[in-house]
């Protein structure tokens, strides 16, 4: 037996085919003997090579480890940052859905099928949705229905339909319902016109009623010959059509036109970009999180340097525009994600450990916090020490912009409410942040009243 310890990855316990674990800081996937024939088929059928070649499945190396009881050990390629469906924009979830269906289709052609279709099996890597669960494939038994069908409809179809036809904010239901949005709930929330779309009528509304009708049924009236291979490909094809037909146009949200309505002249905006870029160069970070990234204009300064960058924003429209821009330009270093910093993603699932919180995924080398602090301090009433503590928990280096009360954006925020923020002053800001950070540099942004700071976290 090994002397070193294996630390199982929380959230990787459901499937008896194997599990993920860390050993000496490296991530491995154990393949159990019960899954050996399916694993061998995945490789021998050519499906593994095909999916990896199409960047649809995470690549791995088979490795030897001095641990008994396993069929094989795999070392999968690492995904820079794990993200979850409730943090994705509409098109990210849609692309993840289409990738899942494409995989199921290719698998069937190679005599295999997906035995689950959880959205948590997809991650974004190099700008593309990639399936990460190598053990989700099993030999296809012609005639049998798709085991992952319920999951696909709950994890993808229901939230996409709700986001597209009801309200974009319903995407957050995926955080509450960790095994996908219940179809009866989605069916109730969807507008009447959704009944007129044949795909939604069958896969969602009738599906919900079928679930209800057979609730508590112990014998599934299913056998070989129930769903032919052509029918299976037809079901996947029809799911693909309905998903492709769902759309959402980002408009009318708070920040959609933010850059045209900012406080910066073009020259000042360029100056700010130059300054931020030089600060990034100075830190030379391994990874960057841009908090309050909007459509990612400043995040790109890090991405352009080849640094993996996550662009967090609270606005679904901004995240969507950022993703569409990255996808169109094949910009692979950026991951746009939806995040409300005043209520960031908590840890979720079994034991509260299956899905990591926002903070558990940090701290990151460098955080950009541009035109953000007034939203936290004044928009969300967080005192400055609370804001400084927040940043000290998420990053080792910080580029932060102080936006004074005299700034037109802040004036606008205070126009309709009482100014209960006597401490929101630049000297106070510096004093408070100095208890957590070394203030390395501070440079006024020419053409504005704002100041950019470069800070490094103090050792605890």
């Amino acid at each position: 037996m090994s002397k070193t310890t294996e630390h199982p990855v929380s959230g990787s316990f459901r499937d008896p085919s194997g599990h993920l674990f860390f050993r000496e800081g490296l991530l491995y996937r154990q393949v159990n003997p019960s899954y050996s024939s399916n694993y061998d088929l995945l490789v021998s059928s050519g499906l593994y090579d095909q999916l990896v070649g199409k960047q649809l499945l995470v690549a791995h190396d088979e490795v030897d480890l001095p641990i008994e009881g396993a069929y094989k050990f795999l070392r999968p390629e690492l995904i820079p940052l794990i993200s979850y469906p409730y943090e994705w924009s509409f098109s990210q979830l849609k692309d993840a859905a289409l990738a899942t269906l494409r995989i199921q289709e290719l698998a069937i052609h190679k005599g295999m099928a997906l035995k689950d279709a959880s959205a948590f099996n997809i991650q974004f890597n190099e700008g593309r949705p990639v399936f990460i669960d190598t053990l989700s494939f099993e030999a296809y038994r012609e005639g049998e229905p798709w085991v992952g069908y319920r999951q696909f409809c709950q994890h993808f179809l229901a939230p996409l339909a709700l986001m597209s036809l009801s309200d974009i904010r319903l995407g957050s239901l995926s955080a509450k319902y960790i095994d996908g949005v219940p179809l009866d709930l989605a069916s109730q929330l969807l507008p009447g016109k959704s009944w007129l779309k044949f795909g939604l009528l069958t896969h969602l509304h009738l599906h919900a009623r079928s679930q209800k009708a057979y609730e508590g049924e112990t014998k599934a009236p299913v056998s070989k010959g129930s769903v032919s291979k052509t029918a299976m490909l037809g079901i996947v094809d029809s799911l693909k059509s309905i998903v492709k037909g769902l759309s959402w146009k980002p408009a009318g949200t708070t920040w959609g036109d933010y850059y045209s309505a900012t406080n910066y002249s073009d020259a000042a905006f360029d100056k700010k970009k130059e300054l931020v870029d030089s600060f990034i160069g100075e830190v030379s970070p391994e990874a960057v999180w841009d908090l309050g990234a909007n459509t990612g204009v400043f995040s790109r300064l890090a991405g352009d340097r080849g640094i993996p960058t996550v662009a967090f924003d609270i606005d679904p429209a901004a995240v969507e525009l950022n993703y569409l821009h990255c996808r169109k330009n094949k910009y692979t270093k950026m991951l746009p994600l939806l995040m409300d910093l005043s209520n960031p993603s908590p840890a979720l699932g079994w034991l509260g450990e299956e899905r990591h919180s926002f903070f558990q995924r940090g701290p990151v080398d460098l955080v950009l916090a541009l035109a953000l602090i007034h939203h936290l301090a004044i928009g969300n009433n967080v005192p400055l020490p609370g804001i400084a503590e927040f940043f000290s928990r998420v990053c080792r280096n910080l580029v932060v912009e102080f936006v004074p009360k005299s700034d037109s954006q802040v004036r606008r925020m205070l126009a309709v409410r009482e100014d209960v923020f006597p401490d929101y002053r630049q000297e106070q800001f510096e004093a408070v942040f100095e208890s957590y950070f070394h203030l390395v540099k501070s440079v006024p942004v020419a053409g504005s009243e704002r100041t950019l700071y470069l800070m490094t976290r103090k050792a605890h």
Binding site: R14, K115, R209, S210, P221, S223, V227, G234, I235, S238
Partner: protein
């Protein structure tokens, strides 16, 4: 009850006639209702998919490449 009648009516309408005892083994609950729905729509799905492939073949007859290749390329 009404909804079960509705589903059963749908089943009979679509001609899914023979129902068997269970034979699927899965580590996630596939859901009886979700299996049923697939059986219900199987006929329509197979027919429309065959028709789509047939049309693809006709179209490809007038242009280069096979239907299968075309469908494959669409998604890449």
């Amino acid at each position: 009850m009404v909804s079960r009648l509705f589903v059963l009516l749908f089943v009979s309408l679509l001609g899914a006639v023979v129902l068997f005892p269970p034979s699927a083994y899965a580590y996630v609950d596939p859901g009886t209702g979700s299996f049923m729905l697939q059986i219900i729509v199987a006929g329509i799905a197979a027919a429309s998919f065959s028709l789509k492939l047939f049309w693809g073949r006709i179209k490809s007859f007038f242009s280069k490449g096979s239907a299968a290749e075309k469908i494959d390329e669409q998604d890449d």
